[in-house]
Subunit: 313 residues, 2 copies
Amino acid sequence: MSVVALCGGIGGAKLALGLYHALPAADLTLIGNTGDDFTHLGFSISPDLDTVCYTLSGLADQVRGWGRGDESWNFMEGVRQLGGPDWFNLGDRDLALHALRSDALRRGESLTEITARIAGQMGITARLLPMSDDPVRTVIATPDGWLAFQEYFVRDRCAPKVVGVRYEGAEAALANPAALAALADPATEAIIICPSNPVLSIDPILSVPGIRAALAKATAPVVAVSPLIGGLAVKGPTAEIMREMGLGATAASVCAHYGDILNGFVLDEADAAEHGALPVATSVTRTLMTTLDDRIALARFTLEFARDLGKRP
Amino acid sequence: MSVVALCGGIGGAKLALGLYHALPAADLTLIGNTGDDFTHLGFSISPDLDTVCYTLSGLADQVRGWGRGDESWNFMEGVRQLGGPDWFNLGDRDLALHALRSDALRRGESLTEITARIAGQMGITARLLPMSDDPVRTVIATPDGWLAFQEYFVRDRCAPKVVGVRYEGAEAALANPAALAALADPATEAIIICPSNPVLSIDPILSVPGIRAALAKATAPVVAVSPLIGGLAVKGPTAEIMREMGLGATAASVCAHYGDILNGFVLDEADAAEHGALPVATSVTRTLMTTLDDRIALARFTLEFARDLGKRP
């Protein structure tokens, strides 16, 4: 079963890992968010692509949620010692990825090529595609002005109120041709929107010209998995942001936010009551992914649901 | 006693540390070789300046001879894992310096400004000046063609025969104005050429237009300390290179190589026999620097010798 999934970082990568286990690797194409990407200390950092790579390769830290396991922090200690900025933590092992990517980008390689090579070196056999090779930068409007995404997310620990979000560069960005082709491919049997933050992880992908239209025109059913359970996010500021932006913070509001690009919506048992009111086909299951088995089970459930929905006319 | 010293990496930094202890810090200006500098994985690396910084600050590894003590190598493990080049070792703590410098250079700061800030952060109170802010690159002619310095020195472990050396960019490089001023300063009482490799560490400095002339015109006596003891270098390829280039590998040949820029020459007891034949004032002592006390003793001996030589007419 040939599947395309859109995903952000930690939450989305959990389901991506489930899909990776549930499907033959060659059947899975992941379209990753690059709106969180930024340059820090001269390193080109792609947090969501990295989280997906580390998660699929088994290198991810299981407790911290980001970065690599078995990590050391001597680089950061050196940076502090020399009076450098220390608000963004870069592990010593993790830094290898950033250094190699930054170097390759400077030498003119595309993010798509670099990501494919890195994923390959990590032994990942699924296809991981950045949404675009052009820079798209998520910026956050707060009552005190605009913040770059990582300033909001890491430096200020999501404390500022979010009154708006902009995806800078999106209008001029060229969608990844391989991503567009995968979405349009008649062989694609399901398009999954992972349980990532809709505003911070999925909307940047949808903001790249051509991607929303490709979802609308795809013959594969588009199924989103709710990132909210009982109005709460498992991790991160999804609920707060959706509330602050006036979108509501229920599974139903996520479904409404995606609007007519969806054919199906998977929501948690805790939200079963919202079930009937939704304008698309829904399916209810346990969506909390604690173990690898949970991830695989939710992936299988979602794939099954998509298969039942069948091709669109 | 106001002193200017020219120095390269490990050997030169030993005497620089001795001078740093022997003099009030504000009286010492070090002019560092940047001919070894190179870009690797996107990092701007200045091995000789770094060795001097680590040595003077006490952060240097005491056994390895380069880089920082208490170092870890997880970045390199990550690089290998991702298929990146691993012939040049970069420690995790050391990497902080390279990342901060590279980032500052990209933002338009000069190497002189960056070096001063880094040295200051390390608590170094002597003045450390790169010979130039412009790139000068030592390249090595071998029977099989030209090699970049670090390819010869690190990657190929000094194995290729050296038939020539070129300092690329030197002709167009602007000498560090502060270095020229220090050399010309009537208050400067001694100019010391540290026991560095004459061809690989000192000649690149002398190749920058204006520096050799500044030495010739200085009123302070110019005193070199021989890097060779009994025809051998304490570490590194000095003797081999001088022999391969037909310069000879004795203390006398080092003295002859520097030629008329010298007013005085310090050589080791092992080479006392060469003493009389040299065309400049000489002074014989133990030059092997094993302990910190050795470094300070040689510094004091050299300063005393320079003081005895007195100002030039």
